[in-house]
Every structure is written in C-alpha cells, then in structure tokens.
Amino acid sequence: MPTVSVKRDLLFEALGQKYTDEEFDELCFEFGLELDEITSEKEILSREQGDEKAAGASDVVLYKIDVPANRYDLLCLEGLVRGLQVFKEKLEAPRYKRVSPADGGEPQRLVITEETASVRPHAVAAVLRNISFTQERYESFIELQEKLHQNICRKRTLVAIGTHDLDTISGPFTYTAKPPGDIRFKPLNQSKEYTAAELMSHYKTDSHLRHYLHIIENEPLYPIIYDSNGIVLSMPPIINGDHSKISLNTKNIFIECTATDLTKAKITLDMIVTMFSEYCDEPFTVEEAEVVYPDGRLCVYPELAYRTETLSGDFINKRVGINESAESIAQLLTRMCLRSEVSGEGDLIQVEIPPMRADVIHACDIMEDAAIAHGFNNIVRSTPRTYTVANQLPLNKLTELLRQDLAAAGFTEALTFALCSQEDIADKLRKNIVETRAVHISNPKTAEFQVVRTSLLPGLLKTLAANRKMPLPLKLFEISDVVLKDETKDVGARNNRRLCAVYYNKSPGFEVIHGLLDRVMQLLDVKPGRNQGYHIQAAEDSTFFPGRCAEIFSCGKSIGHLGVLHPDVISRFELTMPCSAIDIDIEPFL
C-alpha cells in the first residue's frame, strides 16, 4: 500500500477548509483511506539520522496517507484534493479533454523504430500546454512521477516516464534502440557528455539509479529518444537528457512513456495528464501527440477514454447488503468520481468511469466504491444463511489425536522449520542428497532455505542441540509434513505426513523408542504380528549405528525406521550423548 506524504497546510488550503487531525482522520476513513502518520521532515530526519542532521530541516506538518495499491489517482496532492472535494460534493468531477494543437498546427509526433522491439517496444506521448508551475506544483509533479515509477511502473520495468521542456526541443521525435557505444549525450544534472556504456558504470554507485540499470544492462541495444536535431531526450528507463530538462519556468511539457506493457503505459500517461492539466491555461485539457509504430500504424495519445457501465441498483444492494434507491446509489457513486445517472429503465444506473479510475475494471469495483461511499460502518452485519456440516480432514484429525497421546506418553512436541539446508537432510544424516528426493529452492537468500525437509529428524536434533542445558532425558516428537519429489503429481512433488520422535540421554534408550512404537501401534489399533500386524526387522541405514537399526513394517508394508543414531550423526548436530529415534509415515493409517 503506497503512502503519500502531503503538507497539511497546503492540503487544507486546496480543500478550502481547515480540519483538526481527528476530523481529517475521520474524513480519510470515510473515503477509504488511512491517515497513517502526522509528522514533519524534521521529525523524520531526526528519527532516521539523529537530531543533529535534522537541525536545519523543515518542521512543516506532513500528513502521511495510506492509499490503496491500485488508486494511482490519489498519489499526489492534486488527485487527493480532487477526490476529496468531489466526495464532499464541493466540486464536480472535471471532464478531461484531449485537444488538437491550438493554432491548428501539427500535433507532436513520436516515431518508433523497429529496433526497440527487442528491448522496450511501446511508447505513448502527450503535451501539457501553457502550464503554470509554482515551487509546490513543480515538486508535486516530480514526486508523482517517482510514485508512479515505484507502483504501476514496477520500478520502471514496465513503464518509464520522461518529461521535457518542449520549447528546448523540436519534433518529430524518434524512439529507437542503439548499441550502448553509439549513444552519447549529457545526462540530466551532469556537466559533460557520456556514452551509454560509461553512464551505466557511472551510475553503478548512484543510490537511486543503480536499481534500474539491470533492466537494460545486458541488452545489446539500449532504448533512446532523439529530437529532429539529434538531441537526446532520454535513455529510458535510466535517465533523461540534460538539454530538455524542465524547470519552474517551463510552460510546455512533452511527456513520453516507454514501456514493455502498453496498457500500463497508457494508464501512466493518463494519470500524469489528468493530475496536472489542472494547471494549464485551459484547465483539464491535454494536447494530443501522435505515435507512429514501425508498421506504420498511427495512434493518438493520451487516450483519456471514458467508459460507461450499466448496472442495477438491485445488484449493488444485493452485493453490499444494503437497501438504497437507484437514485441514492447513483449519488454515492458520483461522489466517488464515478458520474452516475439513473437511466429511467427500472433501476438501471449508468456509471461513467473516468480515465483516471483505471482501477475500475469490473462492476464489482463499482460495488466496492458504493460500499465505501455508503460507509462500511453503516452496513448492517448479518449472518449468512449458508447451512453446512463441518468435516475435519482425516489426516489432520489423526494428527491431532496422535499428538495428544504422544504428549501423554511423556514426549514433548517440537515445532521445527519445513525449510532447511541440504547439509541438514543429507551430509549430517549421512545420506546422499540425490537419494533424498528433496525439492530444491532456486532463490534462497541463505543456506537455511535451500531445500524443503525430507525428514523431521534434523529439526528435532537441532532442537535438542539448542536445549542441551535442559535436564536429561530429553524426549521430543513432531508430527508434520515433509516434501518429496513425486512425478505422479501435477507439480512434481507431494507432502508426506510423518511422525518422528527422539530420546536423548546418557544411554541410548532404544527400548524407550521401541516402547513408543508399541504405544503408537496400540493407539492405532494395530497388533504385533507379521501379517496383519506390525513388526520390526533388523536393517542397515546410514543414519543409524550399525546393528542398532530396524525397519518398521505394518501390514507387510515398510513405514519407517527406528534405532540408535550413528555417532557421526550425533556429532554433526553438535550433540554429545547417545540418541535413539523413530521416524514413520502415518498416512497408511488413514
């Protein structure tokens, strides 16, 4: 959930009203937002870097507001104010208009060459004409781009935004891709020219830009946008050129968004222009730009598309669980910037979804907005009439019953991790990793998460090791899942519910563990015996001490082992006393 930080006084000025912190918190809640924190730059700096660093910082009050992840229209002061004013019915939602150049001239044009196909094939563009910046508006404009980059643009991988002072460049513009050695320009806020290759190594240490280098680093061709005089506008998604940079005095802005995802590029462009066209001489109008694709196709942007959905008042009432007239529902939706009218046919409502509400993709999103505007606290809680009979999962039912009785038998339950190192399930148990049939994790951050356990034993032995200071004997058990590769399953692996127990003392206590087996079998109502019952039979297993291991059979089927652990296993788990263990599969007893 993104957090938007706005200056309180600026916010109140824009809202035309002052609120107490509590009143504003309440307003946020009603609008489906959360006032997360009230702070200042000084406070933030002092918290993060100490009072000294914070000494000169501003103590202007900041509101930090949590915004739902897909509400890109609320990521800046302008959008937030507009949303709240419409919600409070102090303002009618503006209509955003795409217009042709005023003087009847040609629209700006961005030509995409086919070289971009391999790296970043999409681009959209638009122009904001005769904009008036102030320091605050300018900062908000920059900040919105950053917020969009972090959210919908997925850290610039999907979309990268470039904004330029149109009066410093001349179209038509070319969006192409070139080998890094062939690109040379003066990047934003640098004093000299670099080749693209030099830039990439220059930015390796840049705290901000280094996070984006990987997006094109290994590409043979880098995306690049030129104007008709060969001036570099930007090298997306890394950096703009210095030549076309915008300032407080910029009047006309050329906006380009390059992308790997065209839909997201269109939304991003719509967001920027809907938010900031407010400051144009003719508010809420955006000058169109043409984008020419390599195949000659010509598209005009921004789309600024309005879409109408028709739904019934009954639909909203039934989904939310309220009983409102179609008219009042239409009013609720209009307050959420979804201009709505009752169409006159029954209780049908025409809902217009504006371009900056890209998050509304289904009638259920409209239903949610109606619920927010109605107020969640005004919805009456009710019990569903759904009649069902509960069932336990037989495997879990068996597990629950056995756990109780294992504790009653004097063993204490451990709870160990399902993820572990290869060493834990192989070397330390004197097993070969290949024979374990273990599932391997491709991106573990540490060795503790290399594999999913194939045995509960390592976890129990590690628990013993961490509790060596406790009085002896230590008797532990766990009933939980291990995971084994299994080609018969759709994902190629399956869980297996196992019961494992250990006895740790000055003498191995094989008879104790053997007694536990007898008790478990008694609980499972399996009698000792070779055919229909259970029996144990001497076996060799590298985890166990030679001659001190037996395989356990139930109804003729092998279900596990018990025995005295091999001294090497004991040492490798940093234990010092003899230890006996039992490990069985309990799924055959379902």
Partner: protein, 470 residues
C-alpha cells in the same frame, strides 16, 4: 534428633528468659559445646512452632595453640631472658632451648640481652637489663579473659601475624518461644503409613506439619507446543462454526494456482524473486485443467465476464513455475475450482497450515508461518454477511482488535467465473497468521522464541493451556 533430655533442658531455660536467648549463652549455661546446642535448635525447628529462631553471626578473637602456650608460660623472648643467669650463657646452649631461636632474636631486638662474640670459650649471651615486662603475654592473657576489646586493632593484627591470635566467626541462634511453645517434646511422625492405618495407631500420633509454601514435584509428562495448542483452538472454532477443513498438505504449488487463478497479474510484485521462493527442482508444473487455464489466460489478457482484464501478454511459462505456496488461498482456489465442476452446493471451508515468503526476516517475520483462512461460498452473499461472519469469528477469539491482524474480502468475479462457478455465487474469505495472535496470547515479542529449533523447551514445558475466548 538430639536427645530429648537436652531439648527439654533448653526449653526450660528458654521458659525462664523473657525476650529470648543466644545459643552461645545456652551452651555456656548448660555446659555443653555450642555445636551440640545448634543441633538441638535444628531438632526443635523440625517440630514446628515450638521455638522461633533468628540466625546471627558474631566475630571474636581466639588464641591459637601457640598463643595459649605463651599465655601460660610467657613469650619466647621472656623465656630466653629468664633462662640467662647473671654470668651469661653460651649462645649455642641457649639455641638448644625450645624457644631459643625466636626468643633470641626478639630479645635482641628488645635490647634485653647482648651477645659477646669475642668471649673466650665461644660467643656468650648476657642480660642487659634487670627486669623485663612481658607485654605479649599480657596481651594474650587479656584476650583469653575475653577482654580483647582492650587491645588496639594494630596490636591484635600484630599478634595475628605472629600466629598467636586468630579471628573466628561464630554462627549462633537467637532463640525465642514459638507460637506452640511447650517444655515437653512429643515425637512427630512424618507420614501416614499403611501400618498406622492397619493398626489404627495414627489416632495417637502427632504428624509433622507440611510446608505448604514449598512447590510440589513436577509431574513426569510430555507437553504440546503452544503454537499447536492455539492451532487446535482455531480448528475448534471453525468446526463449531460449521467449516470443513481443506487439504492443505501440498507446500509445493504452481504459480498458476498460487497467483494466476486468483487473478493476480503476472507482473505483480508478489511474484518477484524477492518475495517468493521458486523451485529449481522440480522447476515446472506439468499438468493443468486445459479449458480452465485458457479461460484464466483470456480473463487476464483480454478480460471477459464483465471485466476489462489486465490487457497484457499472459504467458504459460510464468504460470508453470513451481514455488513454495505464499498463501493457502492457492488451496482455496483448487477447492473452489473443484466445487465448480459439480452441481453447486454452498460450502464453508477453512485451513490452517504453513505458507512461505522469501522476505526480509526480523523479530516478527520468518520465512515460513502458518496462515489461517476461512472461505464461504454461496448464492447472494453480501459485504454485510462478510462483516457478520468476521464478527462471529473474532468474538469467538475473544478480542475484537484482532481484526487488525487479518485481511478479508470478496473474491473477484474474474477469479470465480472462469472456474465455472454460477454467476450469482459470491465467495467471501478472510485470513490471518497463526503466529501473531499466539504471540499476543502468550506475550512473546520475538517469533524465534515461539517457533523453530531454537526455542527454549522450558517455554514449551511451562506454557498454559489455550482458551482463546478467556
């Protein structure tokens, strides 16, 4: 047990004094060694409230063996002096005396005697003064009479250095009458025996009182893990509410069921390597319901079912990637798909099982934790129903603020309709972690103290039963 006679003598003595007496004085009065009295006090203590005692310790000075000898016979130097006649004594003869060596040098340094080395017939010792004052002996005699206070510390330390005095600590009791004081002793029995029951002799016996302040002996038993005890309670709550348990015993899941089927777009940050554990072996899932997968692809890339969709290039390669499930909702998706393949009947499902996140670890986050999930599918469920069910669930937990530890919502039509569920069916769901409420319940701040092999077993041994609603 000290002999009864002594005990009763002690008690009679105590009877006569007001305000109590010191065990050392008792020893002196009765003319027995102090240690014998200490034994008697301990025996009386064991009889209950006959006497009450307060332990005291005092220090005093005592003569050593050598010190006692000097107090009796004089210091070595005095003995040497007295042994010398007026005509003197050959040095070698003097040295043969028991006190010779020490006494000679001390008497020399006191200038009581002199040595004539040039005397004919060998070196000879003569007195230099007529009389002497044996201060060492005097001082020791003072200590012997219990008047060590008359000596200065410096003097006492000097004598201690000469190993003539030693400082000893004496532990004694200040004895006063107890609440059930009596001058006669009755022997008390410690425990009831089968013989006493058989013979009826218990009726005449006095029993030693129990110390009810002491802890009992811990029973020899096993213990259930606190997190699993809480899991049992949550299971119980769901079962009481009529929810059926889902089979969540499949930690390995495909991206398809974990993300795509839930209408989670393929570029979603949760599908990043930084958040999810992907599997290298077996890397890919190889079997999907083909028709359903096509419908999922379509709703993502083109929309449908009343949705605009996400309009991106959906790739099966992404959906095939195996991972460690990041939520049990992957299982809910499988269950709802299965449900959609039959004639629809309403269901209520729950699960509590492990999920995995490749996240940054801290005091409250581990790479694996347990997710609790509840799902209701029926025709015409409302947001009001969701709020109603949540209210009932959290009321059973006993704490309303626990709503904050979870998430809830209505599953999107883009998820449900491709599965084949009927149009009017709504599915409401909520989830929370098992660890968080357990940490609150047991007052644990670091999750590592609750789960994993590093937990202190004493914590497991000591944890109370779990009743969530109290």
């Amino acid at each position: 047990m000290a002999d009864t006679g002594l005990l009763e003598s002690l008690l009679r003595l105590l009877e006569k004094v007001d305000g109590g007496t010191d065990s050392q004085d008792v020893a002196a009065d009765l003319g027995v060694d102090h240690q014998v009295i200490v034994g008697a006090v301990k025996s009386l203590q064991a009889l209950g409230e006959v006497i009450s005692t307060e332990q005291k310790s005092s220090k005093h000075w005592e003569l050593t063996g050598e010190g006692r000898e000097i107090a009796e016979q004089g210091s070595h130097e005095a003995r040497v002096f007295n042994a010398i006649p007026d005509e003197g004594l050959p040095q070698n003869e003097l040295m043969k005396m028991p006190s010779g060596k020490v006494g000679f040098s001390k008497a020399m340094s006191n200038k009581w005697i002199r040595l004539d080395k040039a005397h004919e017939g060998g070196p000879r010792v003569f007195k230099t003064v007529e009389t002497i004052e044996d201060t060492v002996r005097d001082k020791l005699q003072l200590v012997q009479k219990g008047q060590s206070a008359k000596l200065e510390d410096k003097e006492k330390n000097e004598l201690k250095k000469r190993k003539l005095l030693s400082e000893v600590t004496v532990k004694s009791y200040w004895i006063t009458k107890g609440s059930s004081f009596s001058t006669t002793i009755t022997k008390q029995e410690t425990e009831l025996t089968p013989e006493m029951i058989a013979s009826g002799s218990w009726k005449e016996k006095n029993f030693k009182p129990y110390n009810f302040e002491a802890m009992g002996v811990a029973p020899d038993c096993g213990h259930l893990h606190p997190l699993m005890k809480v899991r049992t309670q949550f299971r119980q709550i769901f079962l009481e509410m009529g929810f059926t348990e889902m089979p969540t015993n499949n930690f390995i899941e495909s991206s398809f069921w974990n993300f795509d089927s839930l209408f989670q777009p393929q570029q979603h940050p949760a599908r990043d390597q930084h958040d999810t554990f992907f599997i290298s072996d077996p890397a890919l899932a190889h079997e999907f319901p083909q028709d359903y997968m096509e419908r999922v692809k379509k709703v993502h890339s083109e929309g449908g079912y009343g949705s605009q969709g996400y309009k991106y290039d959906w790739k099966i390669e992404e959906a095939q990637k195996n991972l460690l499930r990041t939520h049990t909702t992957a299982v809910s998706a499988r269950m709802l798909y299965k449900l959609a393949q039959q004639k629809f009947t309403p269901v209520k499902y729950f699960s509590i099982d492990r999920v995995f996140r490749n996240e940054t670890l801290d005091a409250t986050h581990l790479a694996e934790f347990h997710q609790i999930e509840g799902v209701v599918a029926d025709y015409g469920l409302t947001l009001g129903n969701l709020m109603g069910v949540l209210h009932q669930f959290f009321t059973k937990l006993g704490l309303k603020k626990w709503v904050e530890v979870g998430n809830s919502g209505v599953f999107r039509p883009e998820m449900l309709l491709p599965m084949g569920l009927p149009e009017g069916v709504s599915v409401i769901a909520w989830g929370l972690s098992l660890e968080r409420p357990t940490m609150i319940k047991y007052g644990i701040n670091n999750i590592r103290e609750l789960v994993g092999h590093k937990v202190n077993l004493q914590m497991v041994y000591d944890s109370p039963i779990c009743r969530l609603d109290s």
